[in-house]
């Protein structure tokens, strides 16, 4: 197979990113410009703000990715860009720029699904480590602020195929972390803070029931029979449970005080977060995280058994969570299943994964038509 240097561009949410990856197996450069500081004051990603920030960042970010890779615009073999899912305005910035650049350079452009990118982040790093032992099929859990999806992934002759076998029915797992953090006066993003504070709390202090999800027969509405069992998630209920707990234990005043205290600190450290929390709040946070982690791990491994996969991937922003990693490793080992995560750097949004996912498409010349556009609700099939 010929070597190919692919320039990847990603702007689906709150990071503007560009990277150069060789043949889907070696990261040559990887630049991520995060807008989290901009968004923190809004408690989340605000789409128009996101697009404006992408516009400002995209040219210098791409230039830096090429400089870091010691490559010129001309010396890459192809460009790749995230088509969706994501915020429409944000996606358009990356797509318009990539289209113009590809046209000007007369290079092929490859459109990549963001979720596929997360899966390839794992493959890329394993190849880079020289892991040739990877067995298929793979079950991939893509878990972040906007997604909680399970995919069966397999490499076929004409590239990769994916089959969705589960997703969240309501809130994404990362969203539940963010909402609970906001509810408890801890700011945005919520995942890292909750992860760091959880180790100071008692994870069995508060019991949260997790709902059993009924899988409605999709044939009811004249739809074709589903191809197999479904493994859906639901994280709306646990957020409500945390709210009820706050009300029942009258924590509102303490939360308001914490919010004020933390707002006065520019970038609170773990110790400052901890100092702003009573032990009961630390216990609540630890119990919440444990419940989330247990549910993600149990559902994913149940799906892995049912579908008889050889390998499990856990990827996306929430894959950076320490307890999630540890629990997955322990439980998967008990079942004799290898489980792989991307490094923390490639867990969150980045463009290296986009360039890596583009390589198999490059080999079969699966290039984007000139008129392709952003697809905010894009599915992975």
């Amino acid at each position: 197979m010929p070597d190919a240097y692919i320039l990847g561009i990603e702007s689906s949410c709150d990071e503007t990113a560009a990277a150069v990856v060789r043949s889907g197996e070696q990261v040559i450069s990887n630049v991520v410009f995060s807008q989290i500081a901009t968004h923190a004051q809004y408690g989340g990603v605000v789409p128009e703000l996101a697009s404006r920030e992408h516009l400002r960042a995209i040219v210098p970010v791409v230039r830096k990715a090429l400089d870091d890779a010691k490559r010129t615009y001309q010396s890459v073999d192809a460009l790749a860009v995230t088509q969706g899912p994501g915020l429409p305005g944000a996606l358009l910035v990356g797509i318009s720029y990539a289209k113009a650049l590809a046209f000007a350079l007369d290079k092929p452009l490859i459109a990549v699904n963001h979720l596929e990118g997360h899966i390839h982040a794992v493959l890329l790093e394993e190849k880079q480590k020289g892991n040739r032992e990877m067995r298929f099929p793979v079950l991939a859990l893509v878990v972040s602020g906007g997604h909680t999806h399970l995919y069966l992934a397999e490499e076929r002759e004409r590239g990769w195929t994916y089959q969705n076998i589960g997703h969240t029915r309501d809130d994404a797992a990362g969203e539940a972390f963010d909402k609970v953090a906001k509810l408890l006066g801890m700011g945005y993003p919520g995942g890292p803070v909750i992860d760091k504070l959880s180790k100071f709390g008692e994870p069995h202090a508060v019991k949260f029931p997790m709902p059993q999800i009924k899988h409605r027969d999709r044939r009811e509405q004249g739809q074709p029979e589903p191809e197999g069992p479904r493994f859906d998630f639901s994280y709306s209920g646990i957020k409500t449970s945390v709210l009820r707990y706050v009300e029942k234990n009258q924590l509102q005043a303490a939360i308001a005080a914490r919010r004020r205290k933390l707002a006065a600190i520019a970038k609170p450290s773990v110790e400052e977060y901890r100092a702003a929390c009573e032990q009961s709040t630390l216990d609540l946070v630890a119990s919440f995280q444990r419940t989330m982690v247990r549910d993600l791990v149990e559902k994913t491994l149940a799906a892995a058994r049912e579908c008889d996969v050889a390998t499990v991937f856990v990827t996306g922003g929430v894959a950076a969570n320490n307890e999630l990693r540890q629990t997955f490793e322990q439980e998967a080992a008990r079942q004799g299943l290898p489980v792989y995560f991307p490094s923390r750097q490639l867990s969150t949004d980045n463009a290296a994964m986009i360039a890596a996912a583009a390589y198999p498409k490059f080999l079969v010349q699966d290039f984007a038509p000139a008129d392709f556009s952003a697809e905010a609700g894009m599915r992975l099939v």
Binding site: D171, K179, L243
Partner: protein, 146 residues
């Protein structure tokens, strides 16, 4: 101002009620969805979007992260908007919601009551209230003039 009140006893009943509501929501409509965290707003939208054949029930998920979810139906486009994280009118402006308000659009806005503008301009208001573990009281208020 006609008001009707319904009591549902499960999430499935809330979805079914949403489906029946779709028939009475003739676009363009600005609908405010009120109710605290966990009251069942997204559950109701599952029914409404399904009623317009804009999305399958299981594919309607929380828009909190992306703020706006768009479901395109054969006749009607449904927008599910969550302003939970949006706190000031200036932030609201950056969302460009006015651009979404086309003739075939139904906008379903959560936490819209934070902004007087939406309270003034809304055509329909749907309030959801938790009354017991699974029971929800759903109150639909429609302006007579609209």
């Amino acid at each position: 101002m006609p008001t009707r009140e319904t009591l549902t006893h499960s999430a499935a009943e809330t979805v079914a009620f949403g489906r029946s509501l779709a028939a009475s929501l003739v676009p363009p409509k600005l609908v405010l969805l009120r109710g605290e965290l966990g009251a069942g707003k997204t559950t109701l939208v599952k029914g409404i979007a399904d009623g317009f054949q804009a999305a399958k029930e299981e594919d309607v998920t929380s828009p909190t992260f992306t703020l706006v979810h768009e479901y395109r139906g054969p006749k009607v486009d449904v927008y599910h908007i969550d302003l939970y994280r949006v706190d000031t009118p200036r932030q609201l402006e950056t969302l460009g919601l006015d651009d979404l308000m086309a003739d075939n659009a139904v906008l379903l806005i959560e936490w819209g009551e934070k902004f007087p503008r939406f309270v003034r301009e809304r055509d329909v208001e749907i309030a959801l209230e938790s009354v017991g573990e699974d029971e929800r009281r759903i109150t639909v208020t429609t302006d007579r003039s609209r």
